[in-house]
Symmetry: none
Subunit: 197 residues, 4 copies
DNA sequence: CATGAATGAGGTTTCATTCAT
DNA sequence: TATGAATGAAACCTCATTCAT
């Protein structure tokens, strides 16, 4: 087993356990190490502590999502098209990676998450903040309603998150048709209605 | 201090601590009992354990919300009016009771929450499930889109939850005008668009 | 068993173990709690942590020693007499309480000890710093040699500590005659030799 | 790097770390190996374990001290002169090698130290036990007081150790004049006083 | 010979729960 | 009924040592 394999095993084991049982249902030695198939001390060769491990998982998940979205994303396409692309892809990604979704939900509902949310919403935008930049561009170009950025996030993301949760829990069976419908509905929620749509 | 006072103090103390620090930042003896002004053992005279206490808090919060909504709610009013009433009132309620919102979010993001959500969405509807009954009625009467109930929940509730979180964390300042806008936007998201709106 | 009994048991158990095995040969749960006959968690009801427990042991030992010395100690007696009284009593105290001596040696040979030594030597003198005040008075009144306080400590205390260690380890059998001899020798080491002695 | 270089680097690194942080503040892999610039496993090629490494450090320090003292030491000189020579040189050596002093103090305050002290005091004298042989000779020739060997050690060494500690911790500034004074005071403490001094 | 990743026993501390008062 | 001292399992983390490379 290569070094990076062990690191990956630890990340995977922790991701799964946290997604399934929450941060406090994933004890380091008894469960993470055991599921990863490594000794308890090994975790601390790769991560400074539980917090660092969790932060690293989040960073990797974010990276993977961006890598999934970027290839097909072009700033040259119209705003609406880009919005539909991003939203649909995000939904599909999390449908295929339910564990990632569960982890990110846990993370966002924790002190870490609050800090992160603040940075993402109020801090400087980075190039990879695709969704934020898209919404800001729409606000600036008056294609979107004259509302605060956070409200656009709420209107666009809130339903998606809610749907994904229900789908993953089996309360709802998302398919392509439904995805298309909800994404368009979200677009309608944020775009200026006096235009042609 | 009457018996029921002690019970209420324990509920209040646990609610506050969990809302603020999460389930695992609210140790029973060291924090809940101390803040409630009772002995550690007393908690166990009123509640079977931590889980039962948490479940009871949720039940009481739900009850309070319904009591807040019911008086002004009339099944005789048009669907749209009722939707706007319920949504607006819910937003105002949680703006005034941020602690309740924080607790419910914690709760919904835990194993308890999954079970509960399943019951609420898939189980028998009760009279007090105002929102669910409203949406179901709209679906049945073809005033709302032909979508699964869970999707209507997502479209109607998702943005509200997201907004409330941002408002409570101070990322966004909700006011009456914004509330009206978002509630109407949500209605537009779920109603059949071929009708008069 | 009264509350204070448990606290005392913990203090006693920790004192014995540290005296015997050093700070790191006295694990809290496995040894201190076991020897004290209490649960591991009980230690933390009485002390904030290992450091606080150790500091408290030292404080109690210091207090006991002062209580042993004070009754027969009078500032009205001549300096030489007081010196001999204090030194002899200290030796006897530690001969009878070898465990205290071993603990204090451990303590003084640790980061705590350095801080403490600095305070005791360089900080403000307290009334109960009998030895320090005695030496300082002798320096001020020119009955002792014109040397720094620390050097007087070394000349007066160094041999005593060394002897006690050897006695306790069984390398030397201290008796009253030897004690008298060594205490007088120490006095001769620090007093001005041009006087009558 | 030659083999013996690695061994020396390990010894040096461990010496420094133990002098600074105590036996338990010097983890083998994380600190000793890193500071020595070798792999963690390499330590175990040169030493059986931590205990053996520590014992070896002590042996080397003792050897270096003897090598420092021997060249200028002549059994032909008078006892008093030899005592003053040895004591002064020891003080100077440890002033120049504070790390050695700190290590030896740690060592002597540990289970190892007790065993060693027993051997040195009660076992057969070796030629290189300069101080012990000197004191024993003085006792045998009735130049020193009729006291047990251990007591002479205490009277002669106790103050020196105490002074060195204070000097190294910065509580006292030793200089040649002070060294001369204290060494003579120690001699006065152990010599028979009815003679000419 | 040299490495350093891996180990897992053992360290300190927390906390839900019990039970004698 | 109410208490809160006591408990001990279990949490996170460290570190002396081993062993495959």
């Amino acid at each position: 087993m290569k070094n990076s394999d062990k690191r990956d095993e630890i990340l995977r084991a922790a991701l799964e356990l946290i997604a399934e049982h929450g941060f406090h249902g994933a004890p380091m030695a008894a469960m993470v190490a055991e599921r990863a198939g490594v000794g308890a001390g090994t975790i601390y060769r790769y991560f400074e502590g539980k917090d660092a491990l969790i932060a690293e998982i989040f960073a990797e998940l974010e990276k993977k999502l961006v890598e999934y979205l970027l290839p097909g994303y072009s700033l040259d396409r119209p705003l609406r098209e880009r919005f539909i692309y991003l939203s649909s892809m995000i939904i599909r990604y999390f449908m295929d990676n339910a564990i990632h979704f569960r982890f990110i939900e846990q993370y966002m509902n924790s002190p870490y998450g609050v800090t992160l949310r603040r940075e993402r919403l109020l801090g400087e935008a980075r190039d990879i903040d695709l969704f934020r930049n898209l919404l800001q561009e729409g606000i600036d170009r008056r294609e979107l309603k004259d509302l605060p950025l956070a409200m656009h996030f709420a209107l666009a993301f809130g339903p998606i998150v809610s749907l994904l949760r229900d789908h993953i829990l089996g309360f709802l069976a998302l398919d392509d048709a439904l995805i298309r419908k909800v994404v368009k509905a979200c677009w309608d929620g944020i775009r200026r209605q006096d235009g042609p749509g």
